[in-house]
Symmetry: D2
Subunit: 401 residues, 4 copies
Amino acid sequence: MKRNISIEGLDQIPIERQRIELVERKCLGHPDSIADGVAESISRALSAAYLEECGVVLHHNTDQGEVVAGESIPQFGGGVITKPIYVLLSGRATKSFNGTNIPADAIAMEAARNYIKEILPTLNMDRDITVDSRMGMGSTDLRDVFQSCGTATIPRANDTSFGVGYAPFSEAESIVAGVAAYLDDQMRPKYPVIGQDCKIMCLRDGDDITLTVAMAFVDRYCASLDEYVEMKQFIQEQLAAVAKGLTTRKVTVAVNTADDIASESVFLTVSGTSAEMGDDGSVGRGNRANGLITPNRPMSMEATSGKNPINHIGKIYNLLANQIAADCVAKVDGIEEIYIRMLSQIGYPIDQPHVASAQVLTRPGTKVATVTSEIESIIDEWLEDVTSITERVIRGELKTF
Amino acid sequence: MKRNISIEGLDQIPIERQRIELVERKCLGHPDSIADGVAESISRALSAAYLEECGVVLHHNTDQGEVVAGESIPQFGGGVITKPIYVLLSGRATKSFNGTNIPADAIAMEAARNYIKEILPTLNMDRDITVDSRMGMGSTDLRDVFQSCGTATIPRANDTSFGVGYAPFSEAESIVAGVAAYLDDQMRPKYPVIGQDCKIMCLRDGDDITLTVAMAFVDRYCASLDEYVEMKQFIQEQLAAVAKGLTTRKVTVAVNTADDIASESVFLTVSGTSAEMGDDGSVGRGNRANGLITPNRPMSMEATSGKNPINHIGKIYNLLANQIAADCVAKVDGIEEIYIRMLSQIGYPIDQPHVASAQVLTRPGTKVATVTSEIESIIDEWLEDVTSITERVIRGELKTF
Amino acid sequence: MKRNISIEGLDQIPIERQRIELVERKCLGHPDSIADGVAESISRALSAAYLEECGVVLHHNTDQGEVVAGESIPQFGGGVITKPIYVLLSGRATKSFNGTNIPADAIAMEAARNYIKEILPTLNMDRDITVDSRMGMGSTDLRDVFQSCGTATIPRANDTSFGVGYAPFSEAESIVAGVAAYLDDQMRPKYPVIGQDCKIMCLRDGDDITLTVAMAFVDRYCASLDEYVEMKQFIQEQLAAVAKGLTTRKVTVAVNTADDIASESVFLTVSGTSAEMGDDGSVGRGNRANGLITPNRPMSMEATSGKNPINHIGKIYNLLANQIAADCVAKVDGIEEIYIRMLSQIGYPIDQPHVASAQVLTRPGTKVATVTSEIESIIDEWLEDVTSITERVIRGELKTF
Amino acid sequence: MKRNISIEGLDQIPIERQRIELVERKCLGHPDSIADGVAESISRALSAAYLEECGVVLHHNTDQGEVVAGESIPQFGGGVITKPIYVLLSGRATKSFNGTNIPADAIAMEAARNYIKEILPTLNMDRDITVDSRMGMGSTDLRDVFQSCGTATIPRANDTSFGVGYAPFSEAESIVAGVAAYLDDQMRPKYPVIGQDCKIMCLRDGDDITLTVAMAFVDRYCASLDEYVEMKQFIQEQLAAVAKGLTTRKVTVAVNTADDIASESVFLTVSGTSAEMGDDGSVGRGNRANGLITPNRPMSMEATSGKNPINHIGKIYNLLANQIAADCVAKVDGIEEIYIRMLSQIGYPIDQPHVASAQVLTRPGTKVATVTSEIESIIDEWLEDVTSITERVIRGELKTF
C-alpha cells in the first residue's frame, strides 16, 4: 500500500534570522533527566528480558515515575545526605505471558539502581537512595492488540498520536549540544568536582549569545570556597572556548549566576545532583527526543523515554522523525530547514502513518519541487524499515532524551 | 525603568492554511490532568494558608507528583476497584516561617483529596484511593530570595526561563475547547455515564476535521452493552452537532474507536477514569496553560500547575503571555495571529523581563507598523500589573491546564 | 476420636498472694491498639466479603501492619497535625478464587479507615492520615490446605502452635479492666477531652495498689492549662473511686505523671492519640487476647488480631483457651485459678489438638480429682463446638485485644 | 540510697517436671527476626554515630518497622524473586542536636541494608529488596528527660515498665538453643542450601521430645527434588544427633512436615527466607531477649531490639534480668530455678528500680534463706554497674533476640 507522504514548502523566517532563540539541555544528573534515564533503562531491560524469555517484546510502558528529592548538608571537603532520595517506579509491564513469569518489578529495580549507580558514582547506593516499585499491569485491551506483534507483521499503532523532528541544529542548538558533550566527555573525567547535574541554557538575542550554566559541584572534590570560585572561573573559560569554536557570534558564559559568594551560598552538593536536596524530577518533563528543549521549534509533549519501542507512537515516531530529518539534510542538497511530522492512526500498522509530512525551507536558489521526490524516497525507506528504530532502541543506540 | 519589549512581523503560513493541524485536550479526569489539578489545588491551598498565617505567600513548588493507577473490574451496572489508586504528593513547601508552623503536608493532603472528590464523584474516597505526601523543604538559596517578596516590591524571577502564549484559537482549537466545555457543562450533568476522563483529539487534514474522543464510561450508569452502544452513538451525534456549529469544514466524530463490541471490549470504568486500571498520570505531561496541546504552535515544556504563583516564571509568564495575546486580539484590529514570548532573568523583578517579544501575523491590509505601539502598550500595562496574575491564580480565576 | 485432654493440679502461690503483680492495658487509641484494631477489622471485613462472595472464608492473615506516627502541634483550644499519620497495611489475602475476584485491598482500606474514623472521631480523615495497602498473596502451600475448609469438615491447623488462657481475673486485673471500661463507657461520652489513647498500668506491691494512667487529652476540648490540671485532678478522683469499689486494698491513682506543669509540658494532643506525634504502633505488640498484658501469667506471643479465624491456631486457641477457662470457673466450684493451654499439630483438625491441658489450683478444701471430670467435659464440649469461635469472631462478638 | 531488692522462695513444680513444655526459636532469617535484627542494627549504628558526633547517645527508639513480603518463583537449581521485599523503617531518632546534624535516615538505611546483606547473602540487594525510611522525631517531653543523661549521672527510666529473666535453661530450651547454634555455626557454612529462615519448635510431652523444624531451602544449591529429600533426611539425622547429645529423653526430629513430596510442594526459596514470598515480619513479635519464646516461663511483651540502650527499661531491664539470673545460677549453689523481675519508675535513676525481685526455687536440701544474701549482693552489684549493659549493647556484645 502506498504510504501517505506529504511534502510542502515552508515560508518562514529561518531560525538563525529570528531575533530571539532559546535552547536548553538538562544533563544526565538533572532530576528530570534522572527520571528519564531510569525510565528508559527499565524499558530496555524489560525488552531484553522479554526477548530472551518469550522471543518477543511484551507490552510495557514505564514512562512514569518520580524522583523525590532528599535532604543534604553539603560542605567543602565532603558533606552528608541526611535524607535519602526516593525514586518511585510506576508505569506498567507484562508480568506473565503464556505461562512464563517475568519478574518485571525486580528487573525494573535492578535496571534503575544500576543506571543511577552509573550516573551518580558518588552517591552511596546503600545509604542515600530508596528505589520503590509500584508498577502495575497494563489494561487488557491494549495488551491484546500488542500480543499480535509477535508475528512477522508490522506492529499496529497503540494510539492516534504523532512525532516531530527537524534538522539541522541551529548554531545555538549546536552550542548547547557541544558544550554538554564537552562537559561529559572531556571535563568531568578530569575534574570530578563537576557534578552530573548541569542545566545549560542558551539565549541568542540577535547576535549575542548568552550561555547560562547551572552546575552542581561535588563537595568532596572541592576543598574550599576559594577552590570553588577558581574552578568556576576555569570552567567558564573552558566552556566559552568551546562555544566560540562553534560560532562567530559574540558569546558570554555564566556559571552558577545565583551564587552569593559573600554568604557562601553556592551550588555545592554531596552527590552532584540537586535531587539530593530539594529538586524533584519526573519522566517527560525535560529534554525532547533530540536531547534539547527548543521552544522556537515544534515539540511533542510525549515522553519518549520509557515507552515501549514496539508500537508506542510517542516514542517511535519522535525518534523516527529526527532520524528522517537528519538523513534528508545529509543526503539532499539545498535544505535550509526541514520539519517532519508523523501522525499515526490507532490500530493501523506503524509503517503506514495517517500522514507523514515534511515541511521544507529551502536555501536560496533551491526550489521545493527539486527536492520533493528525494525527500519522499527517504521518508518511504525509513518507514519501510521502521522496525529498525525498535531494534536500535533496544540495543541502546538511540538516545531518547 | 523602560521595559525591553520587542514587536516583529511574522512571515509564515497562517495556521488555518497549513495542511495538517493537530489539537488535543485531556479533560479533568484524565490521569495527567488529575495530577495537574491536584498540584494546582495544593498550591492554591498553600498560598491561602500562607497568606492567612504569614501575610505573604511563602516559597513552594508542588508541580510534582504521580498518580499510580489502580486495578479494577468494571461491569455493566457497577463493578469494583480492586486495588486503590495511589497518589504521591511531592514537591516542596515552607513548613515553618518566623516561628509560625504551617502544616503543609496536611494542607496538601486535604486539598488533594477534596479536589479528587470533586472531580471523581463516583470514586469511594475511603476505599479506592491512597494519597501519600512526601513533600520536602525547598533549597535554602531560593528561599532566601523568596522571602524578600514579603515587601511591597515586585518579586524577583526564580529562574532564567520563559513563557509563551498566542491568540486567537484556530477553528480546530475552538472545536476541541468547545466540545470539551459542552461535555463538561451540558452533557455530564444530564448523563452521569460520561466519565471525567475524556481525551479529545482533533486532526484537521486540509478541510477534513476528524475528532477522536476516548471517553471513559461509568459502569453503574450503564446497564448493558446495548445501552453502551446506544449512548456512544448518541454522544457522537451530540458532539458532531457542537463541532459543526463551530466550522464550515467537514467534521467526523468518532468515540472510543478502540472498542471491540463483539468481544465486549469497551472503555468501561467504575469511576470514570482510566487511572483506576492501568493509566498513570504526572504533573506537566498534559495540557499547556491554555488548556490544549498544540504541536503546531510554540509550546513551553514547563508545568504551569503547582508552581508558586509569586515568582515562578514557568507559571506566571505562561499565564501572562496567553492573557496578553488574547487582549491584543481583542483590542487591536488587524491581527491574524499573535505569539507572545516572555523571557526572564533570574534574580530580576518579574515586571522587567529580559525581553518580552511579540510576533504578529497581520491580516491582509494591515501593516505591522500600524499595530506596534498598541501592542507595546498592552504588553507594558500587563507587566506593570503583573502581580494581578498572582492574585487571580490564588483566587482560582485562572486555569492552568 | 477421643480428644487428648490432660488435667493436672497446680502447686503454686496463688496470684493474690504473690508479692508483686503487674497488669497493663493499652486502650483503643494507643498506637499498638490502633494497629490491632485495624488488623482485626480488616480480617472481619474480608471474612464477611469472602462469605458473601464465595460462601466460605478464604485464606488471609492481616495480623501485620504499622502505624507510623505523624507530627503535631497541639495547643489549648485546638492545635494542628502537621504531618499525617501513615498506616501501612500488610499481611496477605486471597484476591481471586474460582474465577471470583475479591477486591481485598479496597476492602482492607475501607475497613481500616472506617475503624479509625470510629475510634478517633476528632481525626480529620481527609487531612491527617494516609492509609496505604501493600497486602500480598499467601504462599501456595497454605492456601491449598486452606481451601479444603470449604467442606463441612473441621478446618485443619495452619501450624504447630498453641494458645493460652486463664481465669478468673485477679483483683489487679479486674481493676484495670474496670477502670478502662469506666473510661470508655462512662467518662469519655461526657468528657470528650479524654482521648482514646490511655495506657493503664497497675502495680500491686503486697497490698498497695498503684494505678498509673497515661492519658492523651484532646486539645480542642481543653481551653487552658488550668482546665487541664483541674480535669486531671477530677479524673484521678473518679478513677480512684472506681478502683476502690473493686478492692479493699489501698489504691493510689496517678494520671500523666510525666507532666511538668510549670513548663506547660503536658500530655496534650490534637486527636487523642500519641500516634499523631511520635509514637508508632504495631500489630501484636499490645494487649493479649483477654485485653490485658499480664507478665505474672503465662502469655502467648501470637498476635490474635488480624489472623484468619478459621484455622489460625494463634487466634482460635488463644480465644478458645480464655473462653474455656472462664467457663470452668463459672460452672465448677472450688477453682482458685485455672490455666488452659491448647497445642495444635499442623495439618490436623482443630477440634483434635495435640493436647489440651488444664492446670488447676483448687481452693482450700477442694481436691483436684473432684473437678477433673467436669473440667474435661467442658473442654471437650468447647472443642466439639470449636467452629463457634470462628463464627463469633466474624460477628464481632469476641474481642481480640 | 539502698536499693529495693526483694528475694522470695518459689513453691512450684520445676519446669522439668511439668508435663508439657513448649520452646521456640525463630532463627535470623525468619521475617520477624529480620525485623528485629534490622531494628537493633539501626539502634547500634545510631548510638555509635551519636557518640562520635555528640559524645552522648541521643534519644531514639527504632523498635518499629515492618518487613513486607515479596513474591518469588523458586525452582530447583535457582529461581527468581518477582516482587521485591519491602522493608519499612519507622521509629524515631534525634536528627539534630546542639547545632549538629545527624543523618539519622541515612544511617538507618545503611545499617539496615548492611545487616540484611550479611544475613541473606543470596539476596540480590539491587534487585530484590526496597528499604524505605519513614522515621520521625521523638515527642518533646521524652527528649527533654533524655538529654540530661549526657551528664555523669545515671539515666532516668523512660517509663514505668519492667524486665524479666530466668536461669538456667531447661533441657528443651538448651536443645533449641543448641540446635539453632549448630545449624548456624556448623551446618550452614558447609551446606549453603540451608536457608537462614529456620523456625525450631520443641514440644516436650513428659519425656518425649519432638523437635519440629521449618527450614527454608535455598534453591540454587538444590538441583532436584531428590536432592531436597535426601538433604532433608540428612539434616534431620544431624539435628537429632545434636539434640540427643543434650538429653536422655526420647527425641524425634521432623523437618518441613508440611511438605507434600508427591506434588513437589516443598519449602524451597530463592533467598533462604519466607519473606520473599508471603510471610511478613515485625519487630518484637519473635524471640524474647534470651533468644527463645517460652510460654511456660514469664515473658515480657516489650520488643528489646531497637530500643535505645540508655534509658529504655523495656530493653535494659530485660537484658539485665537475664544476666543477673545467669550470674546467680553460676555463682550460687543450690538454685534449681531463678526468676528475676525488675520494675522501674518513670523519671527515677535506672539503678534504683521500684523493686528488683528474685523468686528462687531451690534444690532439695537448700533453704531459700541460705542463698538470699548472695543473690541480693549479685543483684545489687549489677544495678550498681547498670550502665555496663548499655555499653555492651552498643558494642554488640549482648544479643537482643
